[in-house]
Symmetry: C2
Subunit: 287 residues, 2 copies
């Protein structure tokens, strides 16, 4: 396992972590200030400053991307299928312009939450089937841009409203079906927050192998968790044995960034530099 | 599948559903008033009125039990092992006195939450191992009382603090290892709240078969869920296709009660009779 204790060269900052403290350009400046080499920006943050300015800021600071958040929300009723397809194609175009190595897919839960206004459904099996079809369709477009798609299994707590792919096994089953030749076009993004509870996840990480491990995200699971979406913890403040998961992905050959993504009403109230400094310190000690 | 639309003879009320509206004796009176034939009481509610009075009230009203909640919280540090064992033996004694058909096991998460004061750990694999050893030990005592144990896999959102067995598959793996002969001493309690998200659960219900399906619980998953523990929904108010799960367990031969267990800060504020009437109406229409 790589030694992270001496520096933070393998730290990437998912820009949602400080999204309330500044816009994407200010976050990029903060990264430059703190010697952070990579980010994973969100589409809404890019849109807020404009794609052109975001691309220039990334280039001028020499930042790498560890991913682009996010494609997906594939589930909808029939009237919104074209909207879903076009939205995801634009996502590919943006990721390409920014130089992202992959697009992180949050696949969507039930249609009424994934694409508001869609007819309500309780059929999660149908949602899963729709997700798989839509990933297959998106892959065709993404291949043209040479952009790998990384399915992010989300914690089962989000099955209804955010993602109906909730285990690494399910995500890898989809990879096997849609890219049996392991061409590199499809893989997974694993976030310890979503997978730490899964008794099968270490075996699944081994199954994934280096070519399907496209991104590795860290934060921590707090007990108690006061808000299902926005009470994620700073690494070290919760109950996840983070190093055990980094060990597992690196044992398969993963050598990319360890990306910090923290949705937290608590950390969003703190000054950007304090959050970034804490991320660096925890990256060196507990990741 | 049994027709529930004409009456509520297969409705059991888990007494936690109205635990803030009255004590166990008052809940038993309400069940008698509303023609409810079965309950699943909690240990703290029994203790609050005294075991002897609870036993008499159950007998006098002719109520059946669909289970006894709950045994478990097996994970602890070494200094609390005896406490855990003795606590669970008392649970068996109480269940026997009350005439329960099984004990529902909430197995515990990490030791510091399962048995407060235990040394803190992030080792969920060790917790799982400890749970399995402790179930094996409890089974010996429970066999003497002819009391089956029903492992309840809890939603992965509770993996840290309540139960580190989070899927039907994991629970059934434990059953296979500890009771390979399917003697009836060990099975599962399946609550739609905890399992609805699991893409493998229908196959696992088939694997369980009638002899391991010891209890079936219903409520609903609300979107958004405002509190991880106490914002469960009344059946029909959320996103779970409840009938699909009842169909699946009944297809295996399950013919017991459909037990309503709702932890809800919302429903706890309503009058007991209103909650019970709503339970009956939803049991007949959406369960």
């Amino acid at each position: 396992m790589r030694d992270f204790s001496a520096d933070h060269r393998w730290l990437s900052l998912n820009t949602a972590t400080v999204r309330k403290q500044g816009d994407l350009l200010q976050i990029i400046e903060a990264c430059a200030r703190h010697g952070i080499r990579a980010i994973d920006p969100w589409r809404d943050q890019v849109a807020a400053v404009g794609l052109g300015r975001a691309v220039r800021a990334v280039r001028e600071t020499g930042l790498e991307l560890s991913g682009y958040c996010r494609g997906g929300m594939f589930t909808s009723d029939a009237s919104r299928r074209t909207e879903v397809r076009d939205d995801n194609r634009r996502c590919v175009d943006e990721a390409k312009a920014l130089g992202a190595p992959c697009i992180v897919l949050v696949v969507g839960g039930l249609p009424q939450y994934s694409r508001p206004g869609s007819a309500a459904s309780k059929d999660i099996a149908a949602a899963r089937s729709q997700v798989e079809d839509a990933i297959a369709e998106m892959m065709e477009y993404a291949r043209g841009a040479k952009l790998p798609l990384a399915i992010e299994p989300l914690h089962p707590v989000y099955a209804g409203d955010r993602a109906c792919v909730n285990t690494a096994k399910h995500a890898l089953d989809i990879c096997d079906r849609l890219d049996p030749g392991r061409t590199g076009a499809l893989g997974v993004a694993l976030d310890v927050y979503h997978i730490w509870w899964d008794p099968e996840v270490l075996a699944q990480i081994a199954r994934a192998g280096k070519d399907r491990l496209l991104a590795f995200h860290v934060c921590d699971w707090l007990v108690p968790t006061r808000d299902i979406l926005n009470d994620r913890g700073m690494m070290g403040d919760g109950v996840i044995d983070i190093k055990s998961f980094r060990w597992a992905v690196e044992a398969e050959g993963f050598s990319g960034y360890s990306e910090i993504e923290i949705f937290s009403d608590t950390w969003w109230t703190k000054p950007m530099d304090e959050v970034v400094r804490t991320c660096i310190e925890r990256h060196r000690t507990v990741v």
